[in-house]
C-alpha cells in the first residue's frame, strides 16, 4: 500500500482552515446514529470522547484503571506550551511551529506541526473555561515559564502537577457527558484486539478486568488514545500499567508503525537503587536552570566516593568536572535532553559515575543556594527536593542530587495521516500513541499540548468526514468477524494461562528492559543492535516456554494482565531494533555511534533519511516491510543542531 499523508495543498497557514472547510459534515440529527469507540482516557482520549459526545455522537470510552482520571497523563509535571504570546516576548504560532520542527531534528511533518501550534492557543482558553487552575500573576492574569529548546516563555503550568489539572479538566467534561448518558464509560476494561470488517475498523474486543469476561463492542470508528510504550524498557518514568497492547494489536491488523525506535531519554531522573526497582521518578527539567551537572575528575576519585572512603563534600572545586559547561560553553547545563543524557552516560562508561552503583552523576545546587539563599531555592524547587529526599533519604540542600537518564517518552507510534487516521480505515490514533508531530525528539511541555490538540480540536472534524462518508448504517457485534476475533483473544489468554514454567513475567520483562537499554537506548551501534535482535528472539521463545502465569481467566488476575502486555512488548522490542538498524543516521533521541561528527556530536543524514519509517506487519516472526514517507520541507531550512 502506498502511504498517503493527505497533507492539504496551499500555504502552511491556510492548510488547516481550508481542510476543515473541505471536510464533510454529519447532519446534526444523524449524529446520534453513530457510535464512536474511544480507547484511553488520558488527555487525548478524554478530550476526544467529551468533544464527540458534545457534538451528539454516541461514545463508548475505555480505560484499564478504575477511573478515567488515573490515566498516565495525570503524572505530567512541568507544563503545556501554547503560542499565546501573553509575555510579549516575540512568540507566535510560527515560532512555536519552528521550535517544534527544529527540536524534533527535522523528522516531523510541517503541516501537522503547524496545525498543532495553531490550535495551541485554543487549548488554554478551553482549559481555563473548565476551571483548570493555572498559575497566575498578582494581577490575576496567567503566568508562564520557559522550558528547554525555546527562547520565549510560553509554558503554562499548574504548580508541579500540570498533567493532573489538565486531565481533571478533560475528565470533568467527560464526566458531564457520562452523566448525560452520551458517553458509556467502561473502567477496568482492557482492549485486547481490534475487529476489522472488509479492512475497516468496526469494533474492539475487551476483557473486563474484574470478571474476566471477554466482550465485543461495535462502533462506526475506533480511536486509539492509549499512550506511549516506554515500558518496553521495563524501567521508565511511565506509570506501571503503560503498555503497547492496543497499538500493537492494531499494528498486527494492518496499521503501520511509525518510527518505533524514536525514544526520549530524560536526563534528570532519580537513579536506580537496586534490582527491586519497579519504576523511575523524574526530576523536572526546570532543575537544570539552577543546578550544575558534574562528575569527579578522575576514575580514582569516583572509586573512592563509591566505596565511601571519601564524601562528596570532601571533593575540592578542582576535583570536579562540570562536563556540560566544559563541553558546551554556549548552552552549558541547558543543552537539550538527548545531549545531556548522552554525556552523563559517557561519564558512567568512563568509570566516573557516582553513588553505590556508580550509575549516576551529580546535580549540584550549592552555587544556587549561596547565590540566591536556601529560601529562594526552596520556593522554586521545594516540592522536588522533598520528593528526592523522600525517595533517597539524602538531603539535596546539603549534598548534590544524584541523577541519571531514564526512558521517558516515545515519539514513535502508529503512523497516521493528516486526519489522524491510521492505515486501517476508520481506525484513528491520538496522543502519545501516534507518531506524528514530535519527529525524533520531543520538546518539553509539548506532549500535553499534542494530546489535547488531537482530542479537542482535530479529531472532531476529521472523524466526522469519515463518518459522513460511510453513512449511519447500523453496526453491531453479530458479524462473524467479532466472533472470530473474540475466539483468537480467548485462545491467546488460554495459552498464557497454560504457562507453568519457572520464571515470573516480571523477570522476563526485566531482561527485555536490560537488552533494550543496553543496545537500543542512548547510543546504538549496528553490532549491538544485531546482537539485541537475537537476544530478544531468544527471550521471546523462552517466555512462551518458561514463564509462569498463575490463576484463571474468570477473576481479577493481575498476573495475566501483565503477561499479556509483556508478550506484546517482546514483539515490539524487535521492531524497535529493526528500525534503529535501518536508520543509520543520528537524529534527535536516536544516536547511532557510526554517525557522529569529529567532535562526537550527532550527525544527521538528510540526503538518505529524511523520511518517516512506517513498518507493515507481515506475520509472526516474519520481517516487517518498510514503507517510506518522504518528508518535504517547504518552509524551514534544515540545519545541523549545535549547542557548543
Amino acid at each position: 500500500m502506498k502511504l498517503d499523508s493527505k497533507i492539504p495543498e496551499g500555504p502552511l497557514a491556510e492548510k488547516w482552515p481550508k481542510h476543515k472547510f473541505n471536510l464533510k459534515l454529519v447532519n446534526p440529527a444523524n449524529k446520534r446514529k453513530y457510535t464512536v469507540i474511544v480507547v484511553g482516557t488520558g488527555l487525548a482520549g478524554a478530550s476526544a470522547a467529551a468533544s464527540l459526545a458534545e457534538l451528539g455522537y454516541n461514545v463508548k470510552s475505555f480505560c484499564f484503571q478504575d477511573s478515567p482520571r488515573r490515566a498516565h497523563s495525570i503524572a505530567a509535571q512541568g507544563g503545556i506550551n501554547a503560542a499565546k504570546n501573553y509575555q510579549n516576548d516575540g512568540d507566535s504560532v510560527y515560532r512555536l511551529f519552528y521550535d517544534t520542527i527544529k527540536g524534533g531534528d527535522y523528522r516531523a511533518r510541517e503541516a501537522n506541526v503547524y496545525r498543532l501550534a495553531d490550535v495551541s492557543v485554543n487549548i488554554i482558553d478551553q482549559c481555563v473555561a473548565q476551571g483548570v487552575p493555572f498559575a497566575r500573576e498578582y494581577g490575576g492574569l496567567l503566568d508562564n515559564r520557559s522550558f528547554g529548546g525555546a527562547q520565549v516563555s510560553r509554558t503554562f503550568y499548574a504548580r508541579g502537577q500540570t498533567g493532573q489539572q489538565l486531565l481533571l479538566g478533560a475528565y470533568s467534561a467527560l464526566s458531564r457527558q457520562i452523566g448525560l448518558g452520551t458517553v458509556k464509560q467502561y473502567n477496568r476494561h482492557e482492549m485486547m484486539d481490534i475487529v476489522t470488517i472488509d479492512g475497516e475498523a468496526k469494533g474492539i474486543i475487551t476483557r473486563d478486568l474484574i470478571s474476566g469476561k471477554i466482550e465485543s463492542h461495535a462502533g462506526h470508528a475506533v480511536l486509539l488514545c492509549t499512550g506511549g510504550y516506554g515500558n518496553v524498557f521495563y524501567l521508565s518514568t511511565n506509570a506501571m500499567g503503560c503498555n503497547v497492547t492496543a497499538a500493537w494489536k492494531a499494528h498486527k491488523r494492518g496499521a503501520y508503525f511509525g518510527n518505533p525506535c524514536f525514544t526520549q531519554i530524560h536526563p534528570t531522573c532519580i537513579p536506580v537503587s537496586g534490582d527491586h526497582q519497579s519504576k523511575l521518578t523524574l526530576m523536572s527539567e526546570s532543575l537544570r536552570n539552577d543546578g550544575r551537572v558534574w562528575a569527579p575528575k578522575t576514575v580514582e576519585l569516583a572509586q573512592k566516593l563509591r566505596k565511601g572512603e571519601i564524601k562528596v563534600t570532601d571533593l575540592k572545586e578542582s576535583d570536579r568536572d562540570y562536563f556540560l559547561e566544559r563541553k558546551y560553553p554556549a548552552f552549558g547545563n541547558l543543552v537539550p535532553r538527548d545531549v545531556a543524557s548522552r554525556n552523563a552516560k559517557e561519564m558512567v562508561d568512563e568509570g566516573r559515575g557516582v553513588g553505590a552503583s556508580g550509575v549516576a552523576v551529580f546535580l549540584d545546587f550549592a552555587d544556587a543556594i549561596s547565590r540566591l539563599g536556601e529560601d529562594a531555592v526552596r520556593a522554586k524547587y521545594g516540592n522536588l527536593f522533598d520528593m528526592y529526599y523522600q525517595i533517597t533519604d539524602e538531603d539535596p540542600y546539603k549534598q548534590p542530587m544524584r541523577i541519571y537518564p531514564a526512558v521517558h517518552y516515545t515519539m514513535g507510534g502508529l503512523w497516521v495521516d493528516y486526519n489522524l487516521q491510521t492505515t486501517v480505515k476508520g481506525l484513528y490514533c491520538l496522543g502519545e500513541a501516534n507518531f506524528s508531530d514530535h519527529g525524533a525528539n520531543r520538546l518539553g511541555a509539548s506532549a500535553l499540548m499534542q494530546g489535547l490538540a488531537d482530542g479537542y480540536f482535530v479529531i472532531p472534524y476529521t472523524v466526522g468526514d469519515y463518518l459522513a462518508t460511510i453513512g449511519p448504517k447500523p453496526v453491531d457485534a453479530s458479524h462473524p468477524a467479532f466472533a472470530e476475533t473474540k475466539r483468537q483473544v480467548e485462545e491467546r489468554i488460554q495459552k498464557l494461562l497454560s504457562l507453568k514454567g519457572t520464571r515470573t513475567v516480571d523477570d522476563f520483562h526485566r531482561d527485555l528492559g536490560h537488552i533494550m537499554w543496553e543496545y537500543c537506548g542512548m547510543a546504538r551501534t549496528e553490532e549491538g543492535l544485531i546482537k539485541a535482535k537475537g537476544l530478544i528472539r531468544e527471550l521471546r521463545e523462552n517466555f512462551w516456554k518458561d514463564a509462569i502465569v498463575p490463576g484463571g481467566n474468570n477473576e481479577m488476575n493481575q498476573s495475566l494482565e501483565k503477561a499479556a502486555r509483556v508478550a506484546d512488548f517482546l514483539e515490539l522490542g524487535e521492531l524497535m531494533v529493526d528500525d534503529a538498524l535501518n536508520r543509520k543516521e543520528s537524529c534527535g533521541g536516536h544516536f547511532r555511534v557510526e554517525s557522529q561528527t569529529e567532535e562526537g556530536e550527532a550527525l544527521r543524514d538528510d540526503v538518505n533519511f529524511s523520511y518517516v519509517a512506517a513498518w507493515e506487519y507481515r506475520g509472526d516472526n516474519m520481517p516487517e516491510e518498510l514503507h517510506k514517507e518522504e518528508l518535504v520541507f517547504e518552509n524551514v531550512k534544515l540545519t545541523q543542531r549545535s549547542y557548543k
Binding site: S51, E54, D66, S67, R69, R70, H72, I74, A75, K84, Y86, N122, I124, D125, Q126, C127, V128, A129, Q130, G131, P133, F134, A135, R136, E137, G140, L141, R159, Q164, Y171, S172, A173, S175, I178, G179, N187, A239, M240, G241, S273, H276, S278, K279, M387, Q390, I391, D393, Y456, F457, P460, K500, T502, T504, D506, I548, P550, E555, M556, Q558, S559
Partner: protein, 250 residues
C-alpha cells in the same frame, strides 16, 4: 530487613476474606512499600500461587490508584504521602505489618486489597464540572482571577480521589472529597453560574451512594495524602445551606 506481613486476602466481593501471614525477607530499606509487596508476590508466583492483588499505577503519588490501609492507617504511618511514596526505612527490622483494603460500605472489596471506588465517579458525574462545550469559549486572559483565590482553588484541586478520607473516617463519610471539588469550582468565577445547583447535585449523589455523615472528627484531613483542609467542608456546608434556603433563585 525481615518483616512479617498480615495481609487481607479475599477472592472476590462475595468471599468473606481473612488475614494471611507472609514473611517478607531480605527487604532493602530503600525499597518502596509496593516494591516490597512486589518481592513477596514474585515469591508467591514462583510457587504458582495467586499473588496479593492491590491497585497501583503511577507510583509517584499522583494517580490516586494505590489504596492500602497499613497498620490501621490509610497510606501508612507517614503524613502527607500515598502508599506508593512510603519507603521501607519507615519500618523497623522484625516488625509485623498489617495490610488491609479501604473499609467502607460504599467501597466494596473486589479482590484482596483492591476496592471498587466507582461511587466517586458517579458523584463527579452528578455535578463535578463546569458545563462548557469544546470551542466558543472566551480568551483565557479575559477572566482575571486574584492570585489568592486561584491559589485557594488550587489547594482544593490537588485531591487525587484516592478515598483515604473515607477510609479514615469512622462514619465512612466522603465529605472531604466532595467538598474539595465543590470548593474548587465555587471559588472560581467560571464556576459561579452552576454553583448552587452543583453542590446540591453532588451532595444528593453522595448520600445516595451510602457514605456516612460528617461528625467533624478531622480524621480525613489528618490522613489525606494531599493534606486537603477540612475548611472545604465548612465552605460546602455554607453553599449547601444557601442553596436550600434560596432554592427558587437558583
Amino acid at each position: 530487613m525481615n518483616l512479617t506481613l498480615k495481609v487481607w486476602r479475599q477472592k472476590n466481593t462475595e468471599d468473606k476474606g481473612k488475614l494471611v501471614t507472609y514473611p517478607a525477607s531480605d527487604i532493602s530499606p530503600d525499597m518502596s512499600f509496593l516494591e516490597m509487596l512486589d518481592v513477596v508476590n514474585e515469591g508467591l508466583i514462583k510457587k504458582n500461587e495467586d499473588p496479593i492483588h492491590f491497585d497501583h499505577d503511577c507510583r509517584e503519588g499522583i494517580c490516586g490508584m494505590c489504596s492500602l490501609h497499613i497498620n490501621g492507617r490509610p497510606h501508612g504511618p507517614k503524613q502527607g504521602i500515598t502508599t506508593c511514596q512510603l519507603h521501607m526505612r519507615s519500618f523497623k527490622d522484625g516488625e509485623t505489618i498489617v495490610i488491609e483494603p479501604w473499609r467502607a460500605a460504599a467501597f466494596p472489596v473486589i479482590k484482596d486489597l483492591a476496592t471498587n471506588r466507582e461511587a466517586f465517579e458517579r458523584i463527579q458525574q452528578a455535578g463535578g464540572f463546569i458545563s462548557v462545550n469544546t470551542g466558543g469559549v472566551p480568551d483565557a486572559n479575559e477572566i482575571p482571577i486574584p492570585k489568592v483565590i486561584a491559589d485557594e482553588a488550587f489547594n482544593s484541586a490537588t485531591c487525587i480521589q484516592c478515598g483515604a478520607c473515607v477510609a479514615a473516617c469512622k462514619n465512612a463519610s466522603a465529605m472531604l472529597f466532595v467538598s474539595a471539588k465543590v470548593s474548587q469550582l465555587a471559588l472560581l468565577p467560571q464556576g459561579q453560574p452552576e454553583r448552587y445547583r452543583r453542590v446540591q447535585a453532588m451532595v444528593a449523589q453522595m448520600d445516595a451512594e451510602g457514605f456516612g455523615n460528617c461528625t467533624n472528627t478531622g480524621a480525613c484531613e489528618a490522613e489525606c495524602p494531599k493534606e486537603i483542609s477540612i475548611s472545604n467542608i465548612a465552605r460546602m456546608n455554607r453553599d449547601y445551606l444557601n442553596a436550600k434556603l434560596f432554592k427558587d433563585e437558583y
